[in-house]
Symmetry: C2
Subunit: 221 residues, 2 copies
Amino acid sequence: MNKPRLSESQEDYLKEIYKLEELNGRVGMQDLAKRLDVRPASVTGMVKKLVQVQLVEHEPYKGVRLTDVGEKIALEVLRHHRLLELYLANHLNYTWDEIHEEAERLEHVISEKFEAAIAELMDHPTHDPHGDPIPSADLKIPETPDLKPVSSLKAGSFSTIRRVMTQDKDILNMLSRLNLIVNRDIQVAGKDSSGVRLKVDEQQYFLPLSIANFIFVECDS
Amino acid sequence: MNKPRLSESQEDYLKEIYKLEELNGRVGMQDLAKRLDVRPASVTGMVKKLVQVQLVEHEPYKGVRLTDVGEKIALEVLRHHRLLELYLANHLNYTWDEIHEEAERLEHVISEKFEAAIAELMDHPTHDPHGDPIPSADLKIPETPDLKPVSSLKAGSFSTIRRVMTQDKDILNMLSRLNLIVNRDIQVAGKDSSGVRLKVDEQQYFLPLSIANFIFVECDS
DNA sequence: CATTAATATTAGTTTCAACTAAATATATTA
DNA sequence: TAATATATTTAGTTGAAACTAATATTAATG
Ligand SMILES: [Mn+2]
Ligand SMILES: [Mn+2]
Ligand SMILES: [Mn+2]
Ligand SMILES: [Mn+2]
């Protein structure tokens, strides 16, 4: 009857399955292996155990999917992770590129009490510093306005950065120095096939698509 | 040349060896086993590994002792633990009886950055909420005035609680409700062979020795 | 459609940190 | 001192979670 507490590893599997499923539907062993930095054979092994305890469903050679219970746990871990990222940034002076690694370890270790305490302290935030939605205490994903990649806007248009979808430390570090961070208002000053020119705070910068593609915005209405 | 990062388990062994060594000198397998909630055979096994990497010295059948390097690591973990306890109490509204368990897990997982951030935030404190000394950033134990068990004072004498040496949740919870906490001024209102009567804040309570023995005070000069 | 390439699974190993049961060493005391 | 009790160590097991090497399945392509 009582859930026997998952291992750190199992929690990471569930979390990554959730994120991949969100992007591509059914999740292949290969992708999962890449994300978890582990060999595909190891994934097959762990997936078997997770099937045993009914946290995922697996059709051999087709892929895995979370069960409802599995998804609950994934969301719980994701909530820990994202609350922690925001907390580290807001209360302990972590920079954008430092928060992910620390949250990756802490997420498995903090109690519900800790989770509640920092959520309370930050007044129950809905988005982390990357703009990723933070599942609520009852594990619902908050509504998010629909976002477009900045590279899809036409020259001249105004918008607000709402999400930056990478954990690459170098990119995050660079973008934060340029003030290209979540909730900043920007204008697309120009664009060509190789990238976009963005205006922020009277400055402007040309970003190649390899970087610009990570930036998602809400357009001014 | 490079230290290969210890396991959580190894860190706990070093920390407990440190604390026991502080009390009794050389540390027996039995005591260590009791503290770590593990069988003596397991201790022998782990001690062997720690000897291999020269973090402890072991004379079979006589006991273990930390090497200088081992002590450094123990102090590092202890610093994490005690900084965390204070942080949880001061910034996240944890009660006295809740802090230990959470710190016990977090201590192995926070980075040096996290350690530095909370130390800074709390202005480099020297003692945790139990009155235990917090090793400094360079791992020195701060000077502490010498303390006496409150049960050793004579009736009528005034003093200040400076340390409460137990992690028992029920006792801590009770003492904190009675305001018998670190840095509180008290008077010994009376005593007999079974315990002491303490006066705090116009209230007074009789504590049996089984509890009073955990309370250490600094006497008014 | 027959090969080749890409993915996934199986079988067997390794490392870690615990465990039990049995043997050995030290300490206590009759 | 001999007998008993306590403490410690040894030997062998277990369960997680990774690994490698080999095999099997599915997908892509000439
Ligand atoms: Mn993250
Ligand atoms: Mn993680
Ligand atoms: Mn503690
Ligand atoms: Mn611990």
